[in-house]
Symmetry: C2
Subunit: 338 residues, 2 copies
């Protein structure tokens, strides 16, 4: 019912000028500490808090970070979202959500969120076309890719060491005696997927081996299931003895398909190794061996990178890679000692 009080109202109540109220709420401003206390108490009384919209008109800072997601299905992303948001929240920023669908052009979304004068934009589970970057760059809003990279060098990206990760998987599967290693890929266009695949192939090559087969799962469970079925379809006489799946999320579907549709034993008949190290992977029902992308490190470095670029307008974009490591559980079998 009551209109929201403004700095003018507080000023009147405290018998000071509006400027002073503003200064009271601006840390590091020149103001008598006693007056500040007085103003704070009056403000509390009236239920006043500075209007961020009005403030942002002057300061050109909205304290809003735009998040663009393609989907939240893969548990890794909501987790990342929560951790990132909490971190930003503790630093006075908040997250505004945008979801991209395949219909709406990238351009539309950019236009949409630029209206909010966001201070930076984080792209996750979505790839971005060069026009986005250009548009954002020309309006000097920093772009940070989370778990995606891109060739362009005027954008900051944070990923795990996907190429090395792929190699480590190759080494591990070879070392454990696998002879027919297949790959169920993510979204084929995504850098993350490409790097993991390249790492895997190069890793195999070092052992004079090649990929046994490959199918696209497109980072979703339905297609991962289909990919699995097609790899083990009846007319194939020789089938893989190990599957590297580009994300845990898909790996769960793969394991279910293997076990309950194809009647195969994991890892006795087929080994499966995922990527991400999502919490569900440690559930005894899956017990998934996987490559970990340490989420806390990813988040911490992302936040730091974003703040750097916000606070130092000409901070150079960086390409940050977090080392990933193998998490051994029960879906890979050592075939050397049968």
């Amino acid at each position: 019912m009551n209109k929201k009080p403004s700095s003018v109202d507080v000023a009147k109540a405290a018998g000071v000028s509006q400027s002073m109220v503003s200064r009271a709420f601006t840390p590091g401003s020149s103001i008598n500490p006693e007056k500040r206390e007085l103003i704070f108490s009056k403000a509390k009384e009236l239920g006043y808090r500075p209007n961020i919209m009005a403030r942002s008109m002057i300061t050109k800072k909205s304290k809003i970070i735009g998040f663009v997601f393609g989907y939240l299905e893969n548990q890794y992303y909501p987790l990342a979202l929560e951790k990132l948001s909490r971190e930003f929240q503790s630093k006075g920023y908040h997250s505004l959500m945008f979801f991209s669908d395949h219909q709406s052009s990238a351009d539309e979304i950019v236009q949409e969120f630029l209206q909010y004068q966001i201070d930076a934009v984080i792209l996750a589970s979505v790839s971005l076309s060069p026009d986005w970057i250009e548009a954002c760059h020309s309006l000097s809003v920093p772009v940070v890719l989370f778990n995606r990279a891109i060739e362009a060098d005027d954008v900051t990206s944070v990923t795990s060491a996907n190429y090395e990760g792929g190699k480590k998987v190759a080494n591990y599967l070879v070392k454990t005696g696998h002879k027919r290693i297949s790959y169920i890929s993510g979204f084929v266009e995504s850098s993350t997927n490409k790097d993991r695949e390249r790492g895997l192939i190069d890793g195999l090559k070092e052992h004079q081996m090649t990929l046994f087969s490959i199918e696209s799962g497109n980072y979703n469970q339905k297609q991962a299931r289909e990919a699995t079925l097609s790899m083990f379809t009846a007319d194939k006489v020789i089938t893989p003895d190990a599957l590297f799946v580009a994300s845990d999320h898909m790996a769960f579907a793969v394991i279910d398909t293997l076990k309950y549709e194809l009647g195969l034993k994991v890892p006795d008949d087929v080994s499966v190794i995922g990527y991400d190290d999502v919490p569900l992977g440690s559930a005894p029902s899956y017990n998934l061996t996987t490559m970990s992308q340490p989420i806390d490190d990813m988040v911490a470095l992302t936040v730091k990178a974003v703040l750097n670029r916000i606070e130092q307008p000409n901070h150079p974009p960086e390409r940050i890679e977090i080392p990933s490591h193998l998490v051994q559980r029960k879906t890979v079998k050592d075939r050397n000692h049968p």
Copy 2:
């Protein structure tokens, strides 16, 4: 590099007044269609879009919906978030995220997001204290509870029919011949949990039965596991033959504990029934029998309720309940025909 163009810049370029540019972007405004086209083309050329911050100072509408979450662990919430956000996005609204931790008082968070002049606030996976309501109400920002209800009647809430859901569970478990039915609860203070529990107990009473035992899982997996262990600990000679678990999320942990820690068979030794019908429940590894809260209905009605309260300032708060129904899968055994 380029500063963002303003309506004044566009006005100059098109040779009209600033007012007219504003009108061009205000649907239903009185303006010559040809001029509007001209302005649109000039705007596109310059890369102009109205500044929402500035606009909101006049209109008092920020086109921002505040979301408050306690956690996103339970898959139901990220899904709801995505669906809600997409829906709002298509209607010109966007979602600003707030995460509550147990340390920071509710009051702090309210203060924090009221700064953003949000048009409404949706509470999910979090309970809210009466002071919140009061604060929001007095500033006339509508509060909508998603999957939570509250005694106060000046707040809109959308839930599934939890009480009836609990009853249906009771009936189903009794009908399938269970004699010792226990409950693993969610956060004991939450309305959702209380209603499910009450429904279960009342439902049992109708069959002259009582709850065999109860433990709190607090909606998280760790405590759900502990609750399960304590229900089946060695010194108990009689143990439950059915477990109603207040959320699927916990039910997965319960099943894993039962199967892999206690060496029990589900459903042969113990039946388990969850609540929510989260996608993972349909994975063959769990195949969880559960009560469904149809998420699309929940979302659609939430969006409608929020928009109603935004657009019609004195639209009365409503208490919306969606019927929930049983989803039969494989974690409940019919013990009548052994």
